[in-house]
């Protein structure tokens, strides 16, 4: 199942569905990295609210997305990690170091807007 990438102003939004295969994740990664420059976006939000399990591949992909997007000149924020998922991830040592996180989509947008303001 392909993850849709929505464009909202100067931000790209990708929303995860419940069950994503490793191939879907890799596809999302390359899709985001390509489109962020094509649309001249300054921020990317990855919404993982629907995910009730986060394995090591998924969390590594999220970290890779964030680092690649930064190299392409934009900011990434991961939003909507569930409390149980968050604690399970930390126990597995998947802490998404160096990646910005926010509670939900709204918070993520607020975070990015603040960042953009600072950069001006």
């Amino acid at each position: 199942m392909e993850v849709p990438i929505l464009k909202q102003g100067n931000v790209l939004i990708a929303t995860f569905q419940a069950a994503l295969s490793d191939a879907d994740l890799s596809q999302l990664r390359s899709g985001l990295v390509q489109q962020v420059v094509r649309f001249r976006s300054r921020g990317v939000i990855v919404d993982v609210t629907a995910m009730d399990v986060m394995d090591s591949f998924a969390s590594r992909t999220l970290r890779e997305i964030a680092h690649m997007i930064r190299l392409r000149g934009a900011e990434t924020v991961i939003v909507g990690i569930q409390p149980e998922v968050a604690f399970a991830m930390v126990q597995l040592g998947l802490t998404l170091e160096g990646v910005a996180t926010a509670l939900d989509l709204e918070e993520g947008l607020a975070y990015l807007n603040q960042k953009f303001k600072k950069m001006k």
């Binding site: 939003v79 409390p83 604690f87 930390v90 996180t101 918070e107």
Partner: protein, 298 residues
């Protein structure tokens, strides 16, 4: 419980004289002398100053029912009724402060009183006395065991219940300002409580849409490596939900322990006391607290 009883029952060797026959004789004897033996037992109880939390009448009433259940257990060789009675009795007397040694004490006293009466009855027929005691002793020991275990189990149940209640009371997640939560931790943190704290905090972050959390551990006297690691994990998990965590009130002892055992606190934002923590949280949230006179200079 029931399983263990059947286990202990099986290795008992079958004696050549039918023990059930002897038990029946024994039970008849105990029924006949019910009043006298019961009074003797109650006298022994008050003599040894057991059950001081109960009045004399209460002791007598309980003693009567214990005596009857005891004889019944001897007669039927089933312990369920006695077990149920022991649990019921424990439920009633535990809140009044009756101790384990008292309950075990009175059952052992009853065993002794009955054994004495058997000695008195069969003192002329030594062989018969021996056989009667062979039948009586294992049964009596099992009864004592059942009652004591029942009492202890009931006590443990009460303790567990209370622990649960205390635990629920002791982990409040409080909102002090829009998007600012405080989690004051007081007392001993064991791994179970630590897990519960984390769950409540993460849920609280979600429901209150918190951006900053102040965890105050002024009231925590000691912390071991497991709990410290758990704290670090909680901080990281909160960050994944988009909340900043400030830890305040680390005591000198805890600071020393954490550094000595080499816990990496680099990721943790620590402030000396709760006030400082709240001030920093307000800065993070963009609040500025000032006195009214400062705000409107007239």
């Amino acid at each position: 419980m029931a399983k263990r009883e059947t286990n202990t029952a099986t290795p008992e060797p079958k004696r050549n004289e039918e023990p059930s026959e002897l038990l029946r004789e024994l039970v008849a004897h105990l029924r006949q002398n019910r009043t006298q033996l019961r009074e003797e037992w109650v006298a022994r109880i008050s003599e040894t100053r057991l059950l001081t939390a109960m009045t004399k009448d209460e002791i007598f009433a309980e003693a009567t029912s214990v005596y009857d259940s005891y004889v019944e257990a001897l007669e039927t060789e089933t312990f369920e009724a006695l077990q149920a009675y022991a649990r019921n009795l424990s439920e009633r007397i535990i809140p009044r402060g009756v101790e384990t040694h008292e309950v075990v004490g009175i059952v052992l006293l009853l065993r002794d009183v009955l054994a004495r009466s058997l000695f008195a009855k069969y003192q002329n027929d030594f062989k018969k006395l021996n056989r009667i005691l062979d039948a009586y002793e294992p049964a009596a020991n099992r009864i004592a065991n059942t009652v004591a275990v029942g009492f202890v189990q009931e006590r443990e149940r009460v303790i567990r219940q209370q622990q649960e209640a205390i635990r629920e009371l002791s982990t409040p997640v409080l909102q002090v300002r829009e998007r600012l939560l405080i989690l004051p931790i007081i007392g001993v943190i064991d791994p179970q409580r630590a897990r519960q704290l984390t769950e409540q905090l993460l849920r609280g972050i979600r429901t209150n849409r918190a951006k900053v959390v102040v965890i105050d551990i002024t009231g925590v006297a000691a912390m071991d490596a497991t709990v410290a690691n758990h704290l670090v994990q909680t901080v990281e998990a909160s960050r994944l939900l988009g909340a900043n965590v400030i830890v305040t009130g680390l005591s000198p002892e805890i600071a020393q322990t954490l550094v000595t055992i080499g816990i990496d606190l680099g990721k943790m934002n620590t402030v000396g006391d709760l006030q400082g923590g709240i001030e920093q949280a307000e800065r993070l949230l963009g609040y500025k607290v000032m006195s009214l006179s400062e705000a409107e200079p007239s």
